[in-house]
């Protein structure tokens, strides 16, 4: 990775520093709230999910769409880089911007489930799967915004991915292979769980690599 791409990745982290800090902070705070009794758990879980979704939406909106609209993209494109370099830097940079707070929030959540007495450890696989789903969700959204130029289509994607979380929770939570062990005392990693995890990881790999294959090959960037 050449110096310009490296500099752009760190620029992405710097420019979005408040989203990163805010996302990590909200994630931890919601986990703390979830630690306060049964009601707290419900509220805290909802806060946790909202915080991560909001983080993703902010990054997609400000990281890509606004840069295009505000024409600061022209400034970046005037640097000694190719269109492929730009796409790479954007992908890596924004993925990292999401990954850091996401990791903090996810680890916090899993620690809570394991540490908190009245929360069954059987929830661990579900938490992990939900967590990884949110990561995959964001990367799909990011991939979409890098390929699509219209504000309308990007807004549509944001709405759809939000809906997706609720649908996911409902559908996946209802899978027999998972449902049976959700409230068990120990985490159970059975075939259902592993299958879902592998699919999610596959989507992550696909969403991450597609821009390098497609968007990076574009000949017109404006």
């Amino acid at each position: 990775m050449n110096i310009v791409t490296r500099k752009l990745v760190s620029k992405e982290l710097y420019v979005n520093r408040w989203f990163i800090a805010g996302g990590a902070f909200s994630g931890v705070v919601s986990v703390c709230v979830a630690a306060l009794g049964k009601a707290g758990f419900s509220v805290g879980s909802l806060m946790w999910i909202t915080a991560i979704i909001a983080l993703g939406v902010m990054l997609a909106l400000y990281g890509v769409m606004n840069e295009r609209k505000e024409r600061s993209m022209l400034f970046v494109l005037s640097l000694p880089l190719s269109i492929a370099d730009y796409v790479r830097a954007k992908m890596l940079g924004l993925a990292l911007c999401f990954f850091i707070p996401w990791l903090v929030a996810s680890v916090a959540a899993i620690v809570l489930v394991l540490a908190k007495g009245d929360v069954p450890d059987g929830l661990v696989p579900y938490t992990v799967l939900l967590s990884v789903y949110m990561l995959a969700n964001f990367l799909v959204l990011l991939c979409w915004t890098l390929h699509v130029n219209s504000e309308a289509w990007i807004s549509a994607a944001i709405v759809l991915t939000n809906m997706g979380v609720s649908i996911y929770m409902f559908v996946v939570g209802a899978q027999p292979g998972l449902q049976d062990h959700l409230y068990g005392p120990t985490p159970v990693w059975n075939q259902t769980a592993w299958t879902i995890l592998i699919v999610e990881l596959g989507v992550i790999v696909l969403a991450f690599t597609l821009p390098f294959l497609l968007a990076a090959r574009r000949r017109d960037f404006i």
Partner: protein, 296 residues
């Protein structure tokens, strides 16, 4: 040894649904300033973006500083300074942050010169990028570009939104660039007064085609308005190089793009007055002449 041209565009075509840039050729030699003049939507920005590799041509060849564009744009942009009036600094940062950012990418960054420019353009490094006016944005971008001393400056309406003092400061800096005859500037502008003053060569573009391209002095020498008084019954012979003829009774005004003593002699004592034309007048006359010729 012939030096590489800084910009070489040949037969470039770019098609959009409602606009086509066609058969565009443009040459910029080192040590030259080229002014690029055209109405809104004529294709100036499109041409400049093609030169920068931000869009790819549908046909034709583009070479900038010897590099094939858009394939080798990364290498070319090492030595190009590009500022557009549409450009913005990155959000949630400061001017000072940008100075640090640019200096870390370009080793040729001249810090003392940058400081001098900051003062001269009335900027402050601590200023946030979000709160800058259009004029301040452009000045900051120009400062960041000039301080690297790039070999080629490509500027898309660089004086838009600048007050007269700032414009004067900026134009002075451009001319300083040309002290080095290895450097060159391509700038597009509506401001024909500035273009007329500092350009060596001027390219006129209209509706996606290059209408004319010549040394500035050639334009200024070849174009004239000639005011005639023709006694009744006298008609003029067919005259070469007359671009337009306006008749008002006995008084006629001819516009010519090939003024010569010979022409003056042909017209004899019907001539009341010969006037030079400003670049703006030349541009407008030229455009209308070419639109007529194309049946538009």
């Amino acid at each position: 040894m012939t030096q590489t041209k800084h910009i070489e565009m040949r037969g470039v075509r770019k098609t959009y649904p409602f606009f086509t840039l066609d058969d565009l050729s443009l040459d910029l030699e080192p040590g030259q300033i080229m002014g690029f003049v055209g109405a809104n939507g004529a294709g100036k920005s499109t041409t400049i973006r093609l030169a920068m590799g931000l869009i790819a041509p549908d046909a034709g060849d583009i070479r900038v500083l010897g590099h094939a564009i858009p394939e080798a744009q990364g290498a070319a942009k090492r030595d190009i300074g590009f500022v557009s009036s549409e450009m913005r600094l990155l959000p949630h940062t400061t001017i000072g942050w940008h100075m640090q950012f640019i200096s870390s990418i370009y080793p040729e960054w001249d810090a003392p010169y940058a400081e001098a420019l900051v003062k001269r353009f009335n900027l402050r490094p601590a200023q946030g990028s979000g709160g800058l006016s259009q004029g301040e944005q452009i000045k900051a971008l120009l400062m960041l570009t000039l301080a690297r001393r790039p070999r080629l400056l490509i500027l898309d309406e660089p004086t838009n939104g600048l007050d007269p003092v700032a414009r004067h400061e900026v134009m002075t800096e451009f001319m300083d660039v040309l002290r080095d005859d290895n450097r060159s500037i391509l700038f597009s502008s509506h401001n024909t007064v500035d273009v007329e003053r500092i350009s060596d060569r001027i390219t006129f573009i209209d509706r996606g085609r290059v209408v004319d391209c010549n040394d500035k002095e050639d334009f200024l020498e070849r174009w004239r308005r000639i005011h005639l008084q023709l006694p009744p019954g006298v008609t003029l012979p067919h005259l070469p190089g007359i671009v337009s003829r306006v008749v008002d009774g006995q008084f006629s005004t001819l516009t010519t793009n090939s003024y010569s003593d010979g022409l003056l002699a042909l017209l004899g004592n019907t001539v009341r007055d010969v006037q030079r034309m400003s670049l703006e007048e030349i541009f407008v006359a030229n455009v209308f002449h070419h639109r007529e010729a194309r049946g538009q």
